[in-house]
């Protein structure tokens, strides 16, 4: 594992850049624990100071240091993404593996549910949820809902792999070795889909964080928790853009863009690592 990581780092530029970016972001979010004041507090520093020596990234119109605000925002945003990804991975793995391995009726029922989740318009549902939960829509709850809505596509992907694994001879070999379906799924098939899980995790994080940002900016989340989205929300509330407080918007946008690009690069690099065919085409232009 570590060796793969080292090799990827050494020989895949995308992975290296992605790792660099993501580590910077992670580093920043860790810094949030050293913030001199609680990130929710306002009017703790002079408002509207442009980036300067004292405040590297400037201060907001709410009297917060953009730097510390951003570290907290990045931390929460990242945690959110990880939470959604982790929960939805568990769902999609379970459904994908079970559906692919069991086949038949189980498969059909699960896939009908799955298709529904793929087709139904997500955003309206999220907005609806926001209204059902009304104002108690917390960060964790949102993560849960997003996870519940964001597994379907990947489950299909995993299912298709599991289906092909089912027909492979080694699966029959396992059955005749007396392994139970659960053992086969977890011990034999899981390792196969893990790389997919890994790279979809990053895509899923990208997706959920993007959703969170969008929802927050539109004011559909808990804006008390500092996240990249709620930072933008507050900036918009203070017409930061036209008021010339560009640094309030620019830094979080840059940070979130970097985060997305970083995650995306990691995902592509991993995908490439997984897919043997693109390994070959890397060796030199195909034509």
């Amino acid at each position: 594992m570590l060796k793969i990581f080292r090799d990827l780092l050494r020989f895949n530029l995308e992975f290296a850049i992605g790792t660099l970016i993501v580590s910077i972001i992670v580093g920043l979010s860790v810094l949030s624990f050293f913030s001199p004041y609680p990130p929710e507090d306002i009017y703790v520093v002079a408002p509207d100071v442009p980036p300067s020596w004292e405040y590297w990234l400037g201060t907001t119109s709410r009297g917060q240091d953009v730097f510390w605000q951003m570290t907290a925002a990045l931390r929460n945003t990242l945690l959110f993404g990880i939470a959604v990804a982790a929960i939805s991975r568990v769902i999609s793995l379970t459904i994908g593996l079970v559906s692919g391995y069991m086949g038949g009726m189980t498969d059909r029922v699960l896939m009908s549910i799955n298709d529904t989740f793929i087709i139904i318009p997500l955003f309206p549902i999220l907005v609806l949820f926001y209204f059902v939960m009304r104002d108690s829509m917390s960060w964790a709850l949102l993560a849960l809902i997003m996870a519940a809505l964001g597994w379907a596509y990947d489950a299909r992907l995993i299912r298709s792999v599991a289906m092909s694994l089912r027909t492979r001879e080694f699966t029959s070999q396992c059955i005749f070795s007396g392994m139970s379906p659960r053992q086969i799924m977890t011990r034999e098939h899981l390792p196969y889909v893990l790389p997919i899980v890994f790279s979809t995790t990053l895509n899923n994080m990208n997706w959920s964080i993007g959703m969170e940002v969008t929802l927050s900016v539109l004011g559909f989340t808990d804006i008390n928790t500092p996240t990249i989205g709620s930072m933008l929300y507050w900036a918009n509330q203070h017409t930061a853009l036209v008021a010339g407080v560009w640094w309030w918007i620019a830094w979080p946008v840059i940070a979130v863009m970097l985060l997305f690009i970083g995650l995306y690069l990691l995902a592509t690099a991993l995908n490439e690592y997984i897919d043997p065919r693109s390994r070959l085409s890397r060796m030199g232009g195909a034509t």
Partner: protein, 287 residues
């Protein structure tokens, strides 16, 4: 074990059909049509099923392994109807007595798992062995029967072993539960000539020394002739000819059997002045 006159395997009038085809052309395929034969426990034998591709050999094998139900007819193993074997316990008991060997040695093992895992799992699930030492011992004993030892195999991944070794490990695994019947579906079609001989020689030994019956499915008339006791020839799901292997192959009766035998290219080169089979055919055709 059951008495001398109990049938080990009794296949009675078994048929199986499938629906296949593209969207615009759907048709019924009778993969297996009314096949019957019996293996007795008293006299272990190598029972060969031969036939053109798509003639239903693998389908028949899957039904014997209880991986699929016949559309009509019945299969009994040791006097017990396979359709009644549904509960996990019954299945385990069945599997301890009937074991498969697959076509492609490289495919029969999960490339991500160590090969000895299959041996250990089989030992744990089908024998009394529980502790590590016991399972190791069971594995080693089985491996020795096929000319290997646990030391050579332990902690190795499939890609570290040759096809011949892998196929022998697969056979060893099948032997661990002490089965009465081994179903081998084209166990040699993916290996080259020299390996082929080694594996069929092993089958002979199993029959002679361990008294295991073997259902040997193949295209290869030459190896069939070389090792089998009885043979059935299948075509389009039907048994067209059956009987003592050598007798049938030396003197086939059914037109298809004759065609089959004629089509087998002999590795013997004719004398200089004599035309080769293919030349003969060509000449025959151009007239």
């Amino acid at each position: 074990m059951s008495g001398a006159d109990t049938a080990l395997l009794d296949v009675r009038g078994v048929s199986r059909s499938f629906w296949t085809g593209g969207l615009l052309s759907r048709r019924r395929i009778d993969a297996v049509k009314d096949v019957s034969f019996t293996l007795t426990d008293a006299r272990p034998e190598i029972f060969t099923i031969i036939g053109e591709s798509g003639s239903g050999k693998s389908t028949l094998a899957r039904m014997i392994l209880n991986g699929m139900n016949p559309t009509s007819g019945s299969i009994a193993f040791g006097g017990e109807e396979l359709t009644t074997i549904r509960k996990t316990r019954d299945r385990m008991r069945f599997m301890s007595r009937v074991q498969p060997i697959f076509q492609n040695p490289f495919e029969s093992f999960n490339p991500l798992s160590k090969v000895d895992r299959y041996l250990t799992m089989t030992a744990r699930n089908f024998t009394e062995a529980r502790s590590r030492a016991e399972t190791d011992d069971a594995s080693d004993r089985a491996l020795r029967k096929v000319g290997l030892s646990l030391a050579e195999v332990k902690d190795r991944f499939p890609h570290e072993l040759s096809g011949g070794q892998l196929q022998r490990i697969a056979i060893a695994r099948a032997l661990i539960p002490g089965p009465r019947l081994i179903v081998a579906d084209e166990p040699v079609s993916m290996v080259d000539a020299s390996l082929r001989v080694a594996i069929v020689n092993l089958f002979k030994d199993l029959r002679d020394e361990l008294k295991v019956s073997i259902i040997y499915i193949t295209h290869d008339l030459a190896t069939a002739y070389y090792i089998s006791d009885r043979i059935i020839i299948m075509r389009k799901g039907e048994v067209v000819e059956s009987g003592d292997a050598r007798a049938v192959l030396d003197n086939p009766q059914h037109p298809y059997s004759i065609l089959l035998k004629d089509s087998v290219l002999s590795p013997d080169v004719p004398d200089d002045d004599e035309p080769k089979t293919i030349e003969r055919d060509r000449a025959a055709r151009s007239h």
